[in-house]
Amino acid sequence: LSLHPLRNYLDLAYVGNISIGTPPQQFKVVFDTGSADLWVPSTYCDSVPCYTHNVFNPHVSTTFRLSGMPVDLTYGSGRMVGFLGYDTVRIGKLIDMGQPFGLSKSQYGMEHAPFDGILGLGYPSLATQGTTPIFDTLKRRSLIPQPVFAFYLSSQKENGSMLMLGGVDHSYHKGKLQWIPVSQPHYWQITMNRITVNGVVFGCFRGCQAIVDTGTSFLVGPSRVVTALRRLIGARLVDNEYAVSCSYVARLPTIVFSINGNNYPLPPQAYIRKNLRGQCFSNFGGGTENMSHSETWILGDVFLRLYFSVYDRGNNRVGLAPAV
């Protein structure tokens, strides 16, 4: 049994298409730098979410091989239980044969999820034991020219966001990419210097760790600091969410993340979201104090919409630059 944490799916919004098997079966997946496993629903799944999503049928794939090893992927608000198999995975024009992936037998709480499965892009140590993450396979078989990938997450358009595999299209960022060494090659984890609000250090006083995670929507930090931050911006609890007055958003402070000597400002328009009913909510989450002994922050989509991100497995570094 392999227990592995996955990211929150409640606020995930960016999905792409892949196919698995021969003939190919299509799936919408989240490309998640905060995990390293690939899994999709299967015809063996009898949970409600599997009736509303695409399911993989191993019996109609001539290239499927069964491993049978159980997988149990736990979530903050749900769980996927299933087993491992091997098959051909197609991502764009890349064809990865014999790729291990999870097939769900049970899924909990995902009936409204806008994706079928998850494709992890984290380091192999984060993957289910005995499996190789898809990017490592692409790298090892030289299916990509460089061991890098990059994310451009558009905030405006429904389409326009993209994942680049094997290289970087520099037309999607402004200025020079700033490279930051990975401090711990497990998650895409880097060292952060401090967080300032209105010029005053607000968090990460003596430096801390930050995980760059496309599979998390929010900015997540220690509950104590996040509570103080919510208080600072006047966010109040409404129906279990932290709301702010929309008319007040323009007057809220910019939060500045200082990483490797460079500042990455996050204006209120980035950390406050307006829903379809015109209500405004803060995009902060707490809970990382349970994750590690040192202070840890998770820079999710809220941060990555503003900053184009490059993940360099060849040099174990993350590149950041303002997105176009």
Binding site: G16, S161, D169
Partner: protein, 43 residues
């Protein structure tokens, strides 16, 4: 040789649940501080 995979920004599950008036129940039943599960990281 660069492979570009288009990503689509979807309506989030939070928005869907809120529209169906299921969000409060979901949040109450799932103790995750509206963020994610890092508490259970076995590593």
């Amino acid at each position: 040789c660069l492979v570009i995979i288009p990503l689509t920004k979807m309506k989030t599950m939070r928005e869907t649940l809120r529209e169906k008036n299921l969000l409060t129940n979901f949040l109450l039943n799932n103790n995750d501080d509206r963020s994610q599960n890092v508490a259970h990281d076995p590593k």
